[in-house]
Each structure stands twice: as C-alpha cells, then as structure tokens.
Symmetry: C2
Subunit: 205 residues, 2 copies
C-alpha cells in the first residue's frame, strides 16, 4: 500500500516535471506560471504543492534533470564515451522537451533572478569523471588538464547550441559537434586514439 502510494507520487512528480518542461520550453521562465504548469500536467493544486512550492523550484527540477536524458543512452567507454555524450546531447536537445527546457532555463537565468550554476557544474563533473578515466587509460594526453577540458566542453556545447539555434533552428548542431571534435582531437589524444574515434554522429539520429 505504501509502495503503491510511493509509485503514484513518483509518477505525479514526473508528470509535473514534464508539464513544467513543456511550459518553460514554450514560454520561458517569465512567461510560465505554476497554474499553467498544473493545467498542462493535469494535476491538482494539492498534488502540485506536495511536490513543488514555487515556479523557481519547478525550474530547478527541470534544469537539473538534463543529465538523466543523456547518460542512460550511452554504452561506450574511454574517450569515445565523451564524444558520444556530446553526440547524443546534440540530437536529444532537438526532440526531448525536458532537455531543451533545461538548457533554455539554464541560459536565460540572467533575466529571471535565478542564479543556479549547478547545471554547468554537474555536466562538467560528469565529463571530468569520464575524462579522468580515459586519461588513466592513456586515451587523453597527460598534458591535458581534464577539469579544464571538461569545462571547455560544457562551454563549447552551450555556445554551439545557441549559435546553431540562431542560424539553423538547431538543425546543424550535430554537424557542429563533429566539427568541434575534428579540431580538438589532434591536440588532446594520442594520434592512434584520435584516429580510432568514431565521428559518425548520425548513428544516434
């Protein structure tokens, strides 16, 4: 019985976060309201306030769900895993409203009064963990500072999706990510490893 109630609570929370993502993706933070999100998610006021007390809490939940939409889709190791993470992200942002809304909220914080660095920092930590492992395995040059490299990748991906959004409605984002790796790989990986990386981004399309 308790288990059933817990399952229901988890499902309700998921429905709210998805509804919030749809509303934030469409209207941005300032154009969204808790009422509109309640209606979109099809939940009662009681259910909403059981899970989330404010629009800001809803926005944080959406922003911080980003890695969950990517990491479970990966099955590679070493440097290829980091490349694949950016490839999956480049496609998912076009079709996954939760990821897209999270990115929009993260980037628009200036205009909202929110100041939450955790989406940037969390992504960088995830990449740094994989990069450290890849460096231990000899797939990333010793001279590379993996923390700085991880933060550069987060920055470059953040900026690429904005550039791609402005010029192509994000359609050319996967190609931009491939171009980034062609420029980065010769400097960060031994030649043998760089040559072995699969840069076919369409396998995740």
């Amino acid at each position: 019985m308790v288990k059933l109630q817990q399952d229901r609570a988890v499902k309700t929370r998921e429905a709210i976060v998805r509804g919030a993502a749809e509303v934030f993706d469409q209207y941005g933070y300032n154009g969204a309201s808790v009422n509109r999100i309640m209606r979109r998610a099809g939940v009662s006021q009681g259910a909403m306030y059981f899970h989330f007390k404010s629009k800001e809490e809803l926005a944080r939940a959406v922003m911080n769900a980003q890695p969950d939409t990517i990491v479970p889709r990966l099955d590679s190791d070493g440097l290829q895993r980091i490349v694949d993470m950016t490839f999956v992200w480049a496609w998912q942002i076009q079709r996954d409203v939760l990821l897209r809304a999270g990115v929009r909220l993260t980037n628009e914080q200036d205009g909202t009064g929110m100041h939450d660095a955790s989406p940037y920092v969390d992504w960088a930590r995830i990449l740094e963990t994989s990069l450290t492992q890849a460096q231990d395995e000899g797939q990333v040059n010793e001279s590379v500072n993996v923390r700085q490299f991880a933060e550069l990748l987060v920055s470059a991906c953040t900026g690429m999706q904005m550039f791609a959004k402005a010029v192509s409605g994000r359609q050319d984002l996967p190609d931009r990510v491939v171009a980034m790796w062609r420029i980065l790989l010769p400097g960060v990986a031994p030649a043998r490893i760089a040559a072995s990386i699969n840069l076919d981004v369409r396998r995740f399309a």
Copy 2:
C-alpha cells in the same frame, strides 16, 4: 554647418546607444523601455525617433556594436591576433557596458521574440578572416577548417562567459580563455608556432 549637424547627430546616436546598453545591461530586453532609455541617454523624444523607431532597433544597434569594442584594441598579427582578440574580449566584457549588454541581448533572444543571428555570424567572419591569413602564413595547420574553427571559437567564448558568469560573476573568464587555448593550440598549430604564442592574459587587464 551641415558638418556640425552631422557631428551632433553622430554624438546623439552614440549617447542613445550607450544609454540603451546601460538599460539593457541592467534590466534585460523585457525590462527595458524606449522611455527609460531616452531618460538615461538624456535625449528628447524627437532625437530618439530620428535615430531609432523601436526598442528592437535599439537592441540590434547594441548587439551589433560588439566588434567595435574589441578590434581597435589589437596590434598583433597571425594566430596571436586571434588569441589576443579572445583575451581582450574576456576583460572588456567585465568593464564595457556596450559589449556586456550586446552579449546579454544576443544570448537572451529566445525570451524576447528577436531572432538575429548576425552577432554570432559577424564575430565568426572576423575570426575567419584572421584565421585564413594565419593559415596562409603557416601558423594554422592545413588540416584545420578555418570556418569551423572560427565558429567553434565564437561558440566556446559564448558558453565560457555564461559558465563564468554562473560560477564567478565572470571574474575567472580570462583564465578560462587561457585554458581553452592550452587545449586547442597543440591540435591547430605547428608545435613551433604553438610554443611561441603569448598566453599571458594579464597584459590586457
């Protein structure tokens, strides 16, 4: 007489653009109004409407003024010129309201209904011109696609300033730009050139 009137018109326009930058920097696009900008710039309604017909026109003028705040400060050539451009930008965004407001407006377009890719594209063209020249001089590897490299630099700088804003109020942006070049240089330039690049970002502080 005509010349004097022209000089006055140029000065009025500059005062308006600076006032607009201050207001956009402080309040964002949605929080700004033509009235508030008029008051900040200290100009009459007639003068304002002679130069700018709408808030959107003002925003475009601020966004597209970005390169003017950087390019005249450079005196280096080749690959060093491109490095220096990113270094000057990393400091100027902290102290030049025109640049900072332009970057904010460019990045916040989602929430405003504006869709102007020209700040990204203009920056990329400026970098591409310098990169092409550097490649012709043997300072950038033949294997590097200079257009893609230019667009990656614009993307990385866009994302780095957002990451830096979130974690340090932009104070660590110059160090992030140096870290980017340490990661990029070994892959894009011949070893002799890479070793010769001056990465002391503080000379522009």
